[in-house]
């Protein structure tokens, strides 16, 4: 009985489902029909595109075409991929999974790839961030050239052909808006120009994910077209073609009407294709070349004319500063004879500066690297964090929270992982390149952790809390 009843209700449910599906299909068909009719009406009404940029005849550069766009695209495909990966790695370097370190607690699933940031190799963060900043600047001219090459498509007429095309155009907002947003915020941030009404970390991270979504879908949809474009002309022959022999790209009969990048009414060229590519490449080299010295160091530092800290580190024994003692209102009372370092572990103790100096001192050579791109290697002397942990009665801590005298700011404290605390190169440093730490570099004592981002090397350390194993 129960079985028969179930069968009957199952049949009824199936019938209902079929009816629903049929009505949904009919609904969809009706909607599609309406959309088609609206598009037809729009096309008839439009007939001729409105004046200005919507008329294809206004776009006249003979260099625009699928080949040129594809060449710029393949450069960006490689470059922006590296930029995204180095950026995401740089985010991982802040160890956001450790409690207290996460500046973007809403990231949720976007944390999926995070891992405990290693202390070895000590140059990893330095190279990663140097590449991120330098490559970003180098790609600025390529991004502008790529946008120039496809800009006529923004004004394509009719603006809407199908639902597929509407969605694709919406995805371009994520791509173009994303790339411009990321470049703008990144380039302003390295110059300490904080005009944006949001936190840089939050916006640059989430903006990156919006961009990545737009970038991946754009590559997925356009990759075959890019390959076709690259095959349409020989790069080697283009590089040998002077202005005199430069003409527009061939019209592709397979290209749908109005989708071509090549102008319908090209004017005579004023520059060859190789000339344009050389100009874009030259601009990249100029922009990157005038900052890269800040990441390479040594004599190259003198060439970093536009590196925001470039020439400030050329004096011997000097490192760039990212937060001055004056800006946090540090006074002699804070760091004079009254200074105490508090260690919290299995027991709590306080040390004066002299007591710190009396502990076993180690010397390490470690780079300090800033999120803004500059990095410098230096000699540091100080006490191992592992020794301090032992002193506090916690030889194998789960990590440590390092607090600064600094009262406000995003990085007045940092949480270190177990690996960072126990690394033999991690020091509470008291000298820099053989000199007592200058106030601006964290007098009386600061941490220096191999491979950590600059701001996780806390200056003016007042307290270290070693965390219990859970």
């Amino acid at each position: 009985m129960a079985g028969a009843g179930t069968r009957g209700s199952r049949q009824r449910a199936a019938g209902l489902r079929r009816a629903l599906a049929a009505s949904a299909a009919a609904e969809l068909n009706r909607a599609a029909e309406m959309a088609r009719r609206a598009a037809d009406a729009a096309r008839r009404a439009a007939g001729r595109p409105p004046p200005g940029p919507f008329r294809p005849g206004i776009w006249r550069s003979p260099l625009r075409g699928l080949w040129l766009t594809s060449v710029l695209a393949v450069v960006l495909l490689a470059g922006l991929t590296i930029l995204a990966v180095t950026g995401l790695l740089s985010y991982a370097a802040y160890d956001p999974l450790l409690p207290g370190n996460d500046q973007t607690p809403g990231a949720g699933l976007l944390h999926f790839y995070l891992f405990s940031w290693p202390t070895d190799p000590s140059w990893l963060y330095r190279v990663d961030q140097g590449v991120h900043i330098t490559l970003g600047l180098a790609l600025l001219p390529v991004v502008l050239a790529k946008l120039w090459s496809v800009l006529p498509r923004l004004f394509a007429w009719p603006p809407v052909r199908s639902l597929a095309q509407i969605l694709e155009r919406v995805s371009l907002i994520m791509l173009v808006g994303g790339v411009l947003f990321e470049f703008a915020t990144g380039i302003l941030n390295i110059q300490n120009y904080y005009v944006f009404p949001f936190s840089f970390y939050t916006a640059h991270l989430y903006g990156a994910w919006v961009f990545i979504a737009g970038f991946v879908i754009h590559v997925a949809l356009k990759f075959p077209r890019m390959v076709k474009g690259l095959r349409s002309r020989s790069l080697r022959r283009e590089l040998r073609t002077p202005l005199a022999e430069t003409g527009p790209e061939e019209l592709d009969p397979a290209e749908p009407d109005g989708e071509s990048l090549r102008p319908t009414r090209p004017r005579a060229p004023t520059i060859s294709r190789r000339g344009l590519l050389a100009a874009v490449g030259g601009a990249s080299v100029t922009l990157a070349g005038l900052v890269v010295g800040q990441s390479i160091g040594g004599p190259a530092r003198r060439t970093a004319l536009f590196g925001p800290r470039g020439l400030s580190a050329t004096a011997p024994h000097y490192l760039p500063v990212n937060r001055t003692a004056a800006s946090i209102g540090l006074t002699a009372a804070d760091v004079g004879p009254g200074y105490r370092l508090t260690l919290v572990g299995a027991r709590t103790l306080t040390l004066t500066r002299n007591e710190i100096l009396a502990l076993p001192q180690r010397v390490v050579e470690l780079p300090i690297a800033c999120v803004e791109g500059w990095s410098v290697s230096a000699h540091w002397t100080g006490v191992r964090l592992a020794d301090l942990a032992r002193l506090a009665g916690m030889p194998a801590p789960a990590g440590a929270q390092v607090d600064s005298i600094q009262q406000v700011g995003a990085f007045k404290s940092a949480v270190l992982s177990a690996g960072q605390v126990t690394d033999p190169q991690s020091l509470l440093a008291v000298t820099l390149n053989g000199h007592v730490l200058p106030w601006d570099h964290g007098y009386p004592a600061r941490t220096i952790i191999p491979n950590a981002p600059g701001v996780h090397n806390t200056k003016w350390v007042s307290k270290i809390t070693f965390l219990k194993q859970v």
Partner: protein, 235 residues
Amino acid sequence: MRGVTTRGRSITSRIRHWYGANPLHLLALLAAFALAGYAVRAVIAAGQFRGFAIWFTVAIIGHDLLLFPLYSLADLSVQRLLPGRGRRSQASPSQASPPGPGQVPGPPAINYVRIPVAFSLLLLLAFFPLILGLSGPEYHRASGLTTQPYLWRWLAVTGVMLAASAVIYALAWRRAATRARKRQAAAAAARTRAQQQPAAHDPAPSPTALRPGFDAWSPARPAHGPDSPGPHGHP
């Protein structure tokens, strides 16, 4: 089996008809929107959506409707103002005034002007907060330095680039002049030979042929060569 395939195909083609592309296209786009939407959700949760959205929009409008028209207009104006090929190449070759005797046509100056200027403006675009001292207070608080040197560095780099471009232009001009002189001499020699043997008539090369070939392609001229535009190229 067959029934399923036909039905599958008909569903696919119905979606294609209704949507305008392969269903996979729709699926991939929806996945991308989901990822972007997830990131935007986090921006909203952080309470920073307004500024984020405004900057996102302004970035697009600022580039597409402000920066692009501005630099296009500047480029067209420079082409118009500069004496030389920028404009002349649009006229038919017969309208171009032939160079006078002893006057040697140089290569077009346009790229020797606009490329260093573009490089300089690009540096300004990237580093205007430092160059114009806009980030001065924050920059000083962070680094203890002043933004003062950047304006001078930018002016110096601009000067060096313009000077280098001028030198390269002068060299290109000299090379073109040498080539043109050689050709003129060869043509004159050919004329003398032709006068000595009146039977063979050899017309002097046209003035445009003397120019080092900057007008080889012009939309006003009949199509030639493999690069010639098709019938659609000429409205």
